[in-house]
């Protein structure tokens, strides 16, 4: 073999150098096990979030009040399936199969964004989810386009490009609701009230309390801190709410001159309750996914069997 045989230390030094020089790590490159595991954890969690996130919107798909809104919502949910798929593929390059990831999800070992454990209760929720939940996700994802792992970064580039309509779609629904009847305005405010804090929680715990944050930052898996991204999002969203004529719950202007806002204390007890499985919909979401997976088993089996029959050579 002509290949270089390097010691673990040399490999690590080479790896660190690449990270420092912003050279992407690729699937066949050497990487520390912890980096690999951290990526698998984060990318699969991200993929599961896209997939579970189809459910609260799916809840209103067949009650969409116009054909236009129905096809848009359907296309959006389909994008989420596609994005989950891109992310599963990125994770697969690290040596885990999609099936293993799904098994971990079903066993409760892999997490997904807690925000999807809240119910979607009225049509304006389709607006609030697009505007706030996708808005928060996009804030995060834009920074992840620069993540150090090549396949993850490339998946994020594609996802960000495709997602650009999602937030606009949500905001447009809110806008239409606010132009409508008193009932519609009530629904819009109600949706904002319910989704605001869950959206803020999507950025994760405060930097000081975030278990995986420092390593992730060091390896440039994550490029900006939770609190920094959260503040960015809050300050983007408040003027958008004002334009709609909606009131964001509990924010204060901390800097009158520059118009910088701060959200008031997040109820982290609630956050951890939901993360640990006791949100309003955790069980429902997982059961939905398990049922689809189990109902589909005979279909997957017959597809495999049919292929084997026709390619016996």
């Amino acid at each position: 073999m002509l290949t270089k045989e390097l010691s673990e230390d040399q490999l690590l030094a080479e790896f660190d150098l690449k990270i420092a020089s912003d050279i992407k790590i690729e699937p066949r490159d050497w990487m520390p096990e912890e980096y690999r595991n951290q990526l698998i954890r984060q990318i699969s969690q991200h993929a599961h979030s896209e997939i579970i996130g189809m459910q609260p919107e799916g809840n209103w798909l067949n009650r969409a009040p116009s054909l236009r809104s129905k096809k848009i919502l359907m296309a959006k949910i389909q994008d989420e399936a596609g994005h989950g798929l891109y992310l599963y593929s990125a994770a697969e390059t690290l040596g885990i199969s999609r099936e293993q990831m799904i098994a971990a999800l079903h066993a409760g070992k892999a997490k997904y964004a807690s925000v999807f454990n809240y119910p979607s209760l009225n049509w304006a929720d389709m607006g609030a989810i697009g505007w706030l939940v996708d808005g928060a996700a996009i804030t995060n994802q834009v920074s992840l386009q620069r993540t150090s792992y090549g396949p993850y970064a490339r998946a994020m580039v594609r996802i960000c490009k495709e997602e650009s309509f999602h937030q606009r779609q949500g905001y447009e629904i809110m806008w239409r609701m606010m132009q409508g009847t008193e009932d519609q305005k009530r629904m819009a405010q109600d949706a904002l009230n319910r989704w605001w804090y869950p959206a803020l929680m999507m950025f994760g715990p405060h930097d000081a309390d975030s278990a995986h944050s420092s390593k992730s930052m060091k390896w440039k898996i994550k490029r900006e801190s939770n609190d920094h991204l959260r503040a960015k999002f809050v300050n983007k969203s408040i003027p958008q709410a004002e334009l709609l004529g909606l009131k964001v719950p509990d924010v204060k202007l901390i800097d009158e001159a520059s118009g910088i806002y701060e959200h008031t204390a997040i109820n982290w007890e609630e956050f951890w309750t939901v993360v640990n499985g006791n949100g309003p919909c955790n069980k429902q979401r997982i059961e939905h996914h398990i049922k689809a997976h189990e109902d589909g088993e005979w279909v997957r089996k017959t597809a495999i069997a049919a292929d084997l029959k026709h390619h016996t050579n």
Partner: protein, 97 residues
Amino acid sequence: MNKEDNQGQLWEVFLQTKPGMAFKHVGSVHAFDKELAVQNARDLYTRRGEGTGLWVVSSEEIVAVTINEAEYFFEPIDKKIYRHPTFYNLPEGVKNM
């Protein structure tokens, strides 16, 4: 071929975005056979009308140079600058070259 994985096998997808252009790798897709692979690739990667041509290749059929080989595979070629047109000094005034 991992037939046990109930999510199907992995296929690499190459898309041509305009007639005459090169096919470019866009990602991968799971499928149980060739026909489903080409359908699934179409349904996923051309949702926004990006395609005029589509190839799928079973991921297992891809032969790749490993990163450890990269140095002696690529670097020597990098030095043969005489293969590039800008290497040559031509007299002023020569046309259509």
